[in-house]
Structure formats: structure tokens, C-alpha cells
Symmetry: C2
DNA sequence: TATAAAAATGTAATCCTTTACATTCAGGCG
DNA sequence: CGCCTGAATGTAAAGGATTACATTTTTATA
């Protein structure tokens, strides 16, 4: 039913080899043959069968991105950077939710073995042990790149933001404004981003002769709900901390909503700093001071790094690429209350 | 280097046919053979080559989702619904940005022809003419489903929210609160969602003996920026409208930020209604009254519909599936000022 | 003009599975 | 014991491209 390379060969009066060459390397055939082939291809609507090609070439021209939660805008922006770069290289993007592998039974990484994809971009630094082991097998490991998150115990190539610097920047900004009493709103405790950002916070505090005790570290997740819930707790503290560094913008926005409900003013009573600079941060009320990370850039860099590994060409950045972050000063931070 | 079905056949002392059967239909082989095969498979880490399988079976077990803008959280949530459903069916998800096809030259739909995917879920109702024509070819058309957006001129199966009802609900709510002077913040004028939501607004207004003139319809895009920019225009109107229905939550949040800057209070001076109920809507300041649509549900329904078409099994919903929307009353709407 | 080198083309093997069709085998029945 | 049935297995032909190797044609050189 569908037209194949044999049909084109017959119609244009050449062999299948010549058809194949005319399509994938036009310089290698005579002008006459090339024209005949192109003509037949166009009139009969021939398209190369990608499975046949991949089977023979031993290359899928596709990569898989594994995301902890597809619906999260944070991740999808990174994906869009990945997609941009892959598209330029003519490589397809498959997407899978890493939490889904728990459900479905079949491992997400089966794709790699089935040579369905040539490589893997992983945005999830908290894979179950079984998945970690699978990833560590040598023939798999060389086709994996982590983006945004990473696994601290393993040594995969990775693209990430300078999370620690972000934590420092947030604190330094607040210190300048005269704040001395801090809270850190964490994400999941086992998450590497939480850890790094907190480390940056502690570093900057230490430099000012301050530190954060465990009871000033709150929250278990990067979500709006966590931030909102923390407002009540914060309002009840005495003396009340005046500065909150949040591990995500979502937390920060939830927190601000909660604080408003508690009758506290941001930034007059409490200053709030987020992390990520999601699009809405600038339009929050008050607009959110936050640490900007280049999510598109993360995705693009990860895609480029993976493509380089697959090609075997020397990778631009050896195994680690750290992107800078910047402080976006907005209205949610102000001078510490007297 | 990689172990193939022949190796397994040799090792377990059976033919390749038996290996294939043992793996894809275990009931059809003797227990002895099955065990021998499974054993060999496990110890040697055999995985079926997906290209060989797809080539022979003439089925890719994958579908492509075409998205206008991957980074937009709105679309990625729909995608997550799609992914969920596909994952259950053991079908892979490829993702492509429809704007990318403009850049890259190669059409996104090439995938379909190359039998790289079995079907297509399109989230973009504003495809260029060339793409529309491609889609309309019979062998392509039967493997396409639209989700969320759709093409009014063509007749593809489609899953969508009841956008018109959403527009009505928003207006009815505002009418109840005593508002009589409305503004509609539109998305792109050629976008079908803009059109439908506006139609719903007009319907409900008409029923109350009111209507919206062209100079009360503002905006060209679903973005935060458009909403923000409209605030200045709105503040300058005299008499100033008291109710704004927005075609998206993004617009609404941008608008509220702008109104705050103009020194206007929401909802005391102006009531604002959004559309979508994105996660942050409930945590905006003030929390945003909006029309909720079930984005996960849209994605899931679209995926199911497509899978049914591919299988040739009777589709659950014939060609059109409209999901209900609900009004989420929050703090951004209040009684019309006296 | 003869010959060597280069360019163009063709033949057929290969990539790995699935599956139609053929064959073998075991057990039940007359 | 011979025949029949059904289950289990095997053989080999697709499926559609790419490419190593062989062959032919063209072009350049002496």
C-alpha cells in the first residue's frame, strides 16, 4: 500500500542503492539520476521508513527525556529548550514521566536497551535504586545526561544551575537590607536542589556570623500548598523572622498568599525571596524578588551535551556544566522592620 | 555486540520463532521452552529491538503530540494527561513544537508518513495552510485527534472544553454581582478559543439585554504582558467598566498586577475573572475567580480517542468530546461598586 | 588511441523480528 | 496397530532501508 524505495527505484529506472544515495547524499549521484529520483519521490509521495532506516543504521535519531512531573511548568520549560536543540539536529524527543515507571512496571529505561532512543536526558535526581543501577551499566551510562537535578552519588555528566550561588545571592541581598533573622523554606529534603540552595544560604549567613538552626528550616515540597501552609507557622513564631528564602517560586507565592491571610505585609513585615523566576513571579502581588535560572538554557545545554556524547565528538563541557544565576530584585523584599 | 533473538534461540536450544512466541504470547509454547527462553533472556539481558519489531509489525507503538509552545504550563498539563493514558497502553509519546516546523523546514507531520508514529494529537488550532493540507490527506486524517484547540474549517475528531459555557458562566456570575459594564480581554483574534469564549460572553450578555462593543474587546494574546498592558487602558476609560472577563488566567493575573499599579482595587473597583484555573490562580493576590477546565482530562480523553482510532475499535465518543467547565468563585470578583 | 584513474551504478548481504506455512510429535480412539 | 487431531516447533519469507563490494561508465593523461 505504501510506496517503498523499490518502487521509486523501478519508476525512476535506477537501483535502490542509487535512490538511497540520491536522497541521503545527493552529491554522490549524477544529476540525471538525481532528478529522476526526486521526481518519482515527489509525485509518488515517498517517505523513508524510519524503522527500516534505524534498524539498518543502528541509530534511532531520537532521545528520551525523563521528567518527574510533566505538568510542572518548571520542567516543561526545560523541555522546550531540549526540544529546540534536538529539532535543529533533526533528532526526535520522546517524553516519559519518571513517576510512571513505578506504575507501569516496565522501566523507563527499557527504551534505551530496545535502541528505541540513542540517549537519555534525565531531569529527575531522585530515581529509585533499581533505576540507578540500570543507569550505571556502562553501555547505558555513556548515553545519559542529567539536567537541572542530578544524582550526587553517581557521576553522570550534568547540566545545572549554580544553586549554591543562588542561595548566597538571596541571603546577601537580604543582609544588605538589614535582615538578621531568617527562615528557609525547603523542598523535599532528599532533593539535591534543596540541599544545594540551603548550603548556599548557610554559607552566606556564616560569612555574616549568622546561622540557621533546624527549627528555621521548614517545608517538604516545592509546592504552592507547602508555602501557603507555612504562613501560619511563621506568623506564630516569636520573635518573628523577617526574611524568608524559598527553595522555589511556587513556595514563595503560596507563602505570600498565606501571609496575606495572616494579616502580615510583604515586604513590610516579612521579606520573601523565591527561586527560579517563573514567568508569573514578576506579576505576583507584590512582585517576587527571586533567583533567576535559565531553564531554556539548561535544556539546550543538556541536549547539546547529549548529542555530542552520542556522536562521540568531544563534548563542549567535559562532564559538568554549571549555568550562572542572577538575583531579580522586585517588590517582595524591603528593609528589615525596625 | 548486542544480543539478538538468534543468540537467545541458540542458547536456549529452540528456534527464533519459539523465542518470539515465548516472549509475546507465552501461552503458546510449552512450559519447558518458555522457561529455557526466559532464563536465557534474563541472564543475557536480551531486549527486543524496537525498530525491527515496528518494521515487521507495521506499527510504531508511538504517537506524536504537536504543541504550540511547550514551555507554556497550560499545554504541558494537557500533555501530562496524554502521557498518562499512553503509558497505560504501552505507547510512547513524541513531542514536537509546532512553531518549530516553521524553522526547521521539515514538516512535523513527516513523522506520520515515515510511520515513525501511529497517530497525532494536535494541540494547535492555528496551523499554517500547508500543514492543514497535509493533515487532510485521507491516510493522515484518520490518525489525527485535536485536543483543546481545533480547526473550525476542518472536521477532525476533537476533545475540547465547553469554552462557550465558560464565557457564559463568567458573565452570569458577574451579572449576579450587579455588574453591567464589561470588558473582554481576548487572546489572539484568530484563535478558536478566543472566539468561543467571547461568543459565550456575548450570549450571556444578550440574555440580560446587554452587549459588548468592539471597543470593549482588548488584547491580542493569552499572555501576562497583554493583561498587564491593558490595565492602563482600562484605568483611563470613562466611565470605567467594573467587570473584566479574561480569556486566560495569565491575562487576568497580568491585568491584576497592572491594576494594582494603577492604584485600582480588585475587586472593589474592578472585578476580574480568568479562564483555565491554573494552579497559581488560587494563590494569586487576590485569589482569582476563574473558569476551571480539566486539562488533564482533555489530554487523557484525546489520547484514548486516538488509541481507539488507531486500533480501529469503536471510539468512545464519535468525533467530538466536550468536557464541562466550572466556575471557581474566589476573591477577585465582588459586588459592583455603587 | 590506449590506459589509468575517478565517478556512477548495481548486486546482494545485512539490520532483527514476526509470522504464514510446513512439519513433527504425543495422545486418543476405533 | 493405524489414523486422526491438536499442540508445539521449525523454516524461511517478509518488512524497507543502507552499504560493502563488484562492476560499468566516464574523464583525464600520456
Amino acid at each position: 500500500m505504501s510506496v517503498s524505495i523499490k518502487d521509486i527505484a523501478r519508476i525512476s529506472g535506477v537501483s535502490t542503492a542509487t535512490v538511497s544515495r540520491a536522497l541521503s547524499d545527493p552529491e554522490r549521484v549524477s544529476e540525471k539520476a538525481r532528478k529522476a529520483v526526486m521526481e518519482a519521490v515527489k509525485t509518488h509521495g515517498y517517505r523513508v521508513n524510519s524503522h527500516a532506516r534505524s534498524l539498518r543504521r543502528q541509530r534511532a535519531d531520537a532521545v528520551l527525556a525523563v521528567v518527574p512531573h510533566l505538568g510542572n511548568p518548571f520542567f516543561s520549560t526545560i523541555l522546550s529548550g531540549v526540544e529546540f536543540e534536538l529539532q535543529q539536529a533533526g533528532v526526535d524527543l520522546l517524553v516519559a514521566d519518571s513517576r510512571a515507571s513505578d506504575r507501569g512496571g516496565r522501566s523507563v529505561f527499557a527504551h534505551l536497551h530496545a535502541s528505541r532512543v540513542d540517549g537519555l536526558i534525565c531531569l529527575d535526581g531522585n530515581l529509585p535504586d533499581s533505576a540507578q543501577q540500570e543507569l550505571s551499566q556502562p553501555d547505558v551510562a555513556e548515553r545519559v545526561v542529567f539536567a537541572c537535578e542530578w544524582m550526587p552519588d553517581a557521576d553522570f555528566p550534568s547540566v545545572r544551575s549554580d544553586n549554591r550561588a543562588g542561595g548566597r545571592l538571596a541571603v546577601e541581598h537580604l543582609l544588605e537590607l538589614g535582615h538578621r533573622d531568617f527562615v528557609f523554606m525547603a523542598g523535599p529534603r532528599e532533593n539535591i536542589l534543596t540541599a544545594e540552595r540551603l548550603a548556599g544560604v548557610q554559607e552566606a549567613l556564616a560569612k555574616a556570623g549568622l546561622s540557621l538552626s533546624d527549627d528555621r528550616i521548614k517545608g517538604q515540597d516545592f509546592t504552592l500548598e507547602e508555602g501557603f501552609a507555612a504562613a501560619e507557622w511563621l506568623a506564630a513564631l516569636s520573635p518573628r523572622p523577617t526574611a524568608v528564602v524559598c527553595a522555589s517560586d511556587q513556595i514563595a507565592i503560596g507563602l505570600m498568599a498565606g501571609l496575606a491571610q495572616q494579616g502580615l505585609s510583604v515586604p513590610d513585615d516579612v521579606s520573601v525571596v523565591g527561586f527560579d523566576d517563573i514567568a508569573i513571579a514578576a506579576y505576583a502581588n507584590p512582585s517576587l524578588t527571586t533567583i533567576r535560572q535559565d531553564r531554556i538554557g539548561l535544556g539546550r545545554a543538556a541536549a547539546r551535551m547529549l548529542l555530542a556524547r552520542i556522536d562521540g565528538t568531544a563534548p563542549e563541557h567535559k562532564g559538568l556544566c554549571t549555568l550562572p544565576v542572577t538575583l531579580m530584585k522586585r517588590a517582595s523584599t524591603g528593609a528589615a522592620p525596625a
